[in-house]
Amino acid sequence: MPRMGEELRQYLREELMPGVWCPGCGHGNVLRGVVTALDRLHRKMDQVVCVGGIGCAGRSPFYLNSSAMHTTHGRALAYATGLKTARPDLTVLVTMGDGDAAAIGGNHFIHACRRNIDLTAIVYNNGTYGMTGGQQAPTTPAGMRSTTTPLGSIEPPFDISELARAAGASYVARTTTFDFEELPQYIAEAIAHPGFAVVEVLTQCPTYFGRLNHLGDPATMLDYERDLTFPIEPMTREQVAGQLPVGRFRRDVRPEYTRRYAELCDRAAAAAAAADGATDDEPLPRRDCALPRDPYEVRFSGEGGQGVILAGVLLADAAGSEGRQVVHTQSYGPEARGGACKSEVILSSREIPFPEVEQPDAVICLSPEAMRRYTGLRPGGIRIVEERACLGNTPADGDIVLPLIRTAVEAGGELAVNVVALGALAGITGLVSREALEAALRRRLKPELLPLNQRALAAGWGVGR
């Protein structure tokens, strides 16, 4: 192997050399490929960040004279995603071993491929965990020995380049430390490529993989790499069954993540500027009339999808706009639709120490299950029950049973049953003014839903009275 040119030494942090890599290790060859590529591309090292994971390959950032982030095992691509999305102008290289990239970091690897973010991932594939002592890796070929597969591996290995291709990486190439010319060429192409680029490099670990599998000295291991692989172009020799193809498998131009994100920001900023003209409602006068009890506790209950939480939010919003102290809490199960849920509001003329309803002064029940599950009413309180919630339940003395769903349907849709109920409650109790509720509807609802809900509020108010 020729000596590294003097001109390339400027790219190295020689004070940390010799580093952790064993004599005969192929990782130095890969690093030579990286610095040669950076030199060919005239990259300024103060604009380059090399991010590494954990393991022998993960140490590469220390030996490059760029900024370096030596991160946690398997997570280098996720750290690099943070760096690159925050500073898209930087050249970000990510150096990982095969275990780092494809085992513990496999999830980050496939998602980085999918996102197509402009990072250059260099996977040093030596078929083993070198730093921890030669254990089986997800790339260890079937039948090969490691310190955790002393009788030979029985697992099929990952083909990292195939994985990258399937997951959507827009540049994928595989080469070896034997392929002296291709190695820097592919890395340079990958760095220049505007998207997520993967270069998988088969590299020799004479200390473990080679020794445990009797592959001879480092030079003999380079022959092993040559014989193991088959160049897809130019085809200079016959392919032998079982050989791994090497070469450039993909170079596509696809929309790159940070550029698409910048466009999205421009769209969002334009939309925000357009919406800036919208004015808030005029402030409402304070509602000075005393609450029926102070604090006053309200519980809306029903099933997921009935808008129970929104009803509570609208009441709290409206009462707050009239100068009351308010707190709204909600309780629901995992169901987005169905199940029982409740939404509670406390109204008070003073600060509310405890935010949850303990004994409600007013209860709205919109579903049979809610009527069964959420019991308890303060003596003298009121309970408004949707007529269909009584299915299988016996209303208590004093319950106000109302056709809330029917009223909502008549107003234009069952969806608005929550606002019918809110209107009925406000009409009966006078907790908030109708103006305040209407203003809350305008603040909280999409314009296209306003007419229906305004009708529902009016209808509910009428039913309640």
């Binding site: 995603t81 943070g82 707050g320 405890f354």
Partner: protein
Amino acid sequence: MRLIQGNEACALGALHAGCTYYAGYPITPASEIMEQMARMLPARHGVFVQMEDEIAALAAVIGASWAGAKAMTATSGPGFSLMQENLGYAAMTETPCVVVDSQRMGPSTGLPTLPSQGDVMQARWGSHGDRPGVTLTASSVGQVYEVTVAAFNISERYRVPVVLLLDAVVSHMREGVELPDLPVVTRQAPADPAAFLPFGGTDFMPLGAGKPIVVTGLAHAASGLPRATDGANAARMLQRVVDRIDAAGEEILRTRALALEDAEVGIIAYGISARPARGAVELLRAEGIRAGLLELETIWPLPEQAIRDLAARTRLLLVPEMNLGQLVLAIRATVEGRTPVLALNRVDGQVFPPAEIAAAIRQAVAEVRVPVEPAFREVQHAAHG
């Protein structure tokens, strides 16, 4: 006055503090923070990224912080568990960032929509090894906003990851609040960039700003270069970051006092449990028991002096927590037997009603006539039993 949700207040506080970067993964009950950021950041030319899991979320946040951004993520217990290794990395690399954990009842998937205070010890000790741990809490929507700003400010000034513990109730609660214009702290650029040592002080220079910078989770020198076998250097570097937080005092140790001036019994509470504790103080005062509340907005580092001062002048202390007794262990260690410290616990996903806390105080006051050592032991035992 605006009616806003706790999680929305967190997002608004973050933006006020200058947060320009959010990476996250959806989880109940924290998702609204993420959704708000997804809505608000792009128009401000900030960055929002949805990552593939919580491990990646915190990794991206740390990467972004080293790119110079004020960055945050938010999660709940299961995601917070996944973040622990990278939280240790953030501490080791003195990376300013904010991690919100809206607690839900665990262990494991637990009760995903119900509140808990079960992550108190995890926030402090969840990552392997020793590290400085700053953890803040909030009990109201207005406080979520203020404490989120404080979390960023502390994180930026002291170059330390800050954890903000919320819970399912505080996150989803809505209250009418005024959002005050709070002061904002931003990490300091080095006076002399050429002589900058990334791990020499609290000044900060991002990657890609003209000087190669090395960041590693290995033990390292002030220059950032690894010193992975130099134990004395590693000990010095760790002590340095821990001492920095211990010496900070007031800005970090945030507490609120309610009716403590003449209190004979004290409640020490934090997060959502401080709300019923307020109610309990009112109930007890109405019947002639002089109760007071020390609310800890900062639980780590523990405001030890405030707790010792209170212990010195009260007959007993009660610590209500929605876990099986976590912060009470540290409070007892701080009080060192000066006064009995009782634990009141529940793990059923329900917030204590004020009456339950009041009843515990009433009973304790009846039992603890003279706070001498034997009685103290019995009460402690009973509280655990």
